[in-house]
Each structure stands twice: as structure tokens, then as C-alpha cells.
Amino acid sequence: MDTKTEFEELIRRTRSGSKHAYGELYEETVKDVYQTVHFLLDDKSDVDDVVQEIYVEVLRNLHRFNNDKPFQPWLKGIAIKQISAYRRRRWISFRNYQKMSQQPSEIEGDFSPQVVEGLLNKQLVQLVEQLPFKLRQVIILRYLNEHSQEEVAAILKIPVGTVKSRVHTALKKLRKQEELGNIFFGKVENI
């Protein structure tokens, strides 16, 4: 859809109280939002809750949205704010600590022959997930959501130059990690 007009229409109707329009707005946007949250949260079991929070905030702030601007980056800005808020809640750390100490990780590697390529992708994604949060943010927004550098800057409320340098640093780190990984595998093969 284009989005801009169609979003405008949905927003207008949501503002005037149409639940149906809000439902459509949700449907149109949730996948993207959900994936972003998924990649930016360490504890995937909280993704649903954070997404729910995001839509509460959207509803709460929709009257402030400026129709002259694109909706997606605005929405993403709210998402990032909520994700950061989630991370900030100080006591989350002890909760995670509790979880870690009580529940041995239930995630098992999937070694079914879904295969090498899938495995490599997974490794790369894992490397992304190990990046510091600030770097991970730009990588996800830029390369998963495909926002432009300017949009990323607007979403994160930082200068474009900073976005560029973060992307650069992140890619450099990824490359380095990957090389390390390759060396490791290389050695194993050589044996």
C-alpha cells in the first residue's frame, strides 16, 4: 500500500475512535515491529509484552503524530524508545540473573540438516545479537528494516554522522568476529 495516504487515513479513523482502523494499522505494521523487537531483545520471551507496550504507546501518542511525516519511522521511534525503556528498568538485571540461575537454557542448537547455509546465516545473526546494543540498533534498522541513514538518525534522534560511524564500527566488528570464526573452523578442518 502506499502507504502514506493509506496510513493517513487509518490514523485519522483511529483518532476518531475506530477500533477497526486501529486493527488495520496494527496488521499493516506489526510484523516489522515484531521482528525489530525480536532482534533487539536478549530475552525473546518478553518480545510479546514489549510489542504490546509499543502499541499502547502508539495509541497514547497518535494525536501527536505529524501527518506530514512518514509513519513507519515514527512508529519505529516509539518502538526503540520502548525497547530502551525495557532495557533501562534497572531491576531487570536481577530478574535476568534469577532466570539464568534457575533455568538452564532450554534452547538447543538446531542441527537438523536444514543446513549449512541456514547455519551460516544463524551464525551471522548470532554475531549481530552479540553486538553492543547501540551498534545492534543501527544494524537492525538499517539492514533488516531497510531504513535510510537519515531515517535511522531520526528514529534514534542522533546525527546522521553518528549513524554512519556506528554502522561502520558494527560492520568492522562483525567482519572481525567472522574472521575469528573462520580461522577456528579452518583449523578444525586442517586436523
Binding site: 510479546d48 510489542v51 504490546q52 502499541y55 499502547v56 536481577f94 545473526v125
Partner: protein
């Protein structure tokens, strides 16, 4: 740049398996209705596992509904040395009040949930009525946790507070219940006699102090929210 393309492919491939669960929509949509009804206001919260220990001077003899849950005061006393008859009667009074306010079916549901909690108190509670949930079997702990989600709104109601479930988002509400359980766990671990007024952090073993402080701050922030709502 080849590397960037690789990265995009990897993320997109991985993202293909990441889809919002269908039930999320109904949760989000229910907020739409709630928000509109309540004019976007923030919520409150409250609690009271300490219900049993509420100090009060007004107690009257009733049919001792509490006996149905605990056996008798003597039974409580046997397990919880810091229990007072007064606290017990208050608990009983609260129960009577609950019975008066709820219809039969609802009251039975409430009592059912409550007995899970009181049973656990007797079985796992320390001499001061606090439970170290870390020592509990995982299933039991989860049972109590789920049960607390159900009970909390009743407690709020009996305490004259706006239900915390409505005041907090579902996520915050979950954290709140967890915080309450953590709070109690630390008290049990540190063997604190909670009947002797407010807990002083300095008196806790050093290793628990930081965690306790964080938990307490959070619980207090919820209480404060509730307080603000009441005004």
C-alpha cells in the same frame, strides 16, 4: 558490498521465522477499548500477601472463615511463630467482607486460589510466614505465581485500591508479581522477622542488600502509583 548483502540475507532469512503470534492482536485490541474507556489514564497497583499480618485493633468474632483455609489459629501458630491472633482475625474479617461482596461462585473461586497460597505458606513458609520460593519445586512456584495473578485483583479490592492489574500493563503486572515473590524470598533467606515493623536494609546480609533495594524500589513505585490514583 558483499558483506552487507550477506548480512541482509541472513537477517531476512532469520526474520522469516519471526512472526507475531495471532493472540497478540486481541491483546493489543483489548487495550484500545480499555484506553478509550479510561481516558488514557495510568494505572495503579497494590498487593497484599502481608494481608495476614495487617495490624488492626478492630476485630469481631465471626464464623471464622479463616479456619476453613488454615485449619485454625492454633495451626497457624504452630507454623508461623510471629502470627498474632489479631492478624488472624483481621484476615478472617477480610474474608467475611469478601464473601459479602462477591457472589457465591466468585467467592469460591477466590477461596480456591487463596487456599493454594495459604497451603504453601504452611508448607514452605519460615517461622515468620515468608516463603523462600527458590527452594520450592519449580512447578509449585509456577502454580503460586499464576495463582497470584488471579488473587491480586481481589486483594486490591479488599484493600480498597484500584486493581493493580488495570493500572499496570500486563508486562509490568507480571514484573510486579515477580518482584513481590523475590521480596518475600529475600526476607525468608535472611530470616527476617517481618512482624517487627519495616525491614531495615542495613540489617540484611550484604549479599542481599542490592537486590532487595531494587525490588523494594519497584514495589514502592507501584504503591505510589496506586496512591496517586486514589487521590
Amino acid at each position: 558490498m558483499a558483506h552487507v548483502n550477506e548480512l541482509k540475507t541472513a537477517l531476512n532469512e532469520e526474520a522469516r521465522n519471526v512472526c507475531p503470534p495471532p493472540e497478540l492482536k486481541s491483546k493489543v485490541m483489548s487495550q484500545f477499548t480499555q484506553k478509550r474507556n479510561r481516558g488514557m489514564k495510568r494505572y495503579v497497583a497494590a498487593f497484599l500477601i502481608a494481608l495476614i499480618i495487617i495490624p488492626t485493633s478492630a476485630f469481631a468474632y465471626q464464623s471464622l472463615l479463616a479456619d476453613g483455609l488454615y485449619g485454625s489459629f492454633a495451626n497457624v501458630k504452630k507454623h508461623v511463630t510471629s502470627a498474632t491472633l489479631e492478624g488472624y482475625m483481621t484476615f478472617d474479617a477480610k474474608l467475611s467482607e469478601a464473601k459479602g461482596e462477591m457472589d457465591k461462585e466468585e467467592y469460591e473461586k477466590f477461596r480456591g486460589s487463596l487456599s493454594v497460597l495459604t497451603d504453601a505458606k504452611l508448607k514452605y513458609g519460615d517461622p515468620f510466614g515468608n516463603i523462600n520460593y527458590d527452594l520450592m519445586p519449580k512447578e509449585e512456584k509456577e502454580k503460586i505465581r499464576v495463582n497470584s495473578f488471579v488473587l491480586q485483583p481481589y486483594f486490591d479490592k479488599l484493600n480498597g485500591d484500584v486493581p493493580s492489574k488495570e493500572l499496570l500493563s500486563s508486562y509490568e503486572y507480571k514484573l510486579f508479581i515477580d518482584a513481590l515473590m523475590t521480596y518475600e524470598t529475600i526476607l525468608a533467606k535472611a530470616e527476617i522477622d517481618t512482624s517487627k515493623g519495616p525491614v531495615e536494609i542495613e540489617k540484611l546480609p550484604v549479599e542481599y542488600q542490592e537486590q532487595f533495594k531494587l525490588t523494594q524500589e519497584f514495589i514502592h513505585s507501584v504503591y505510589q502509583l496506586q496512591e496517586e490514583q486514589r487521590q
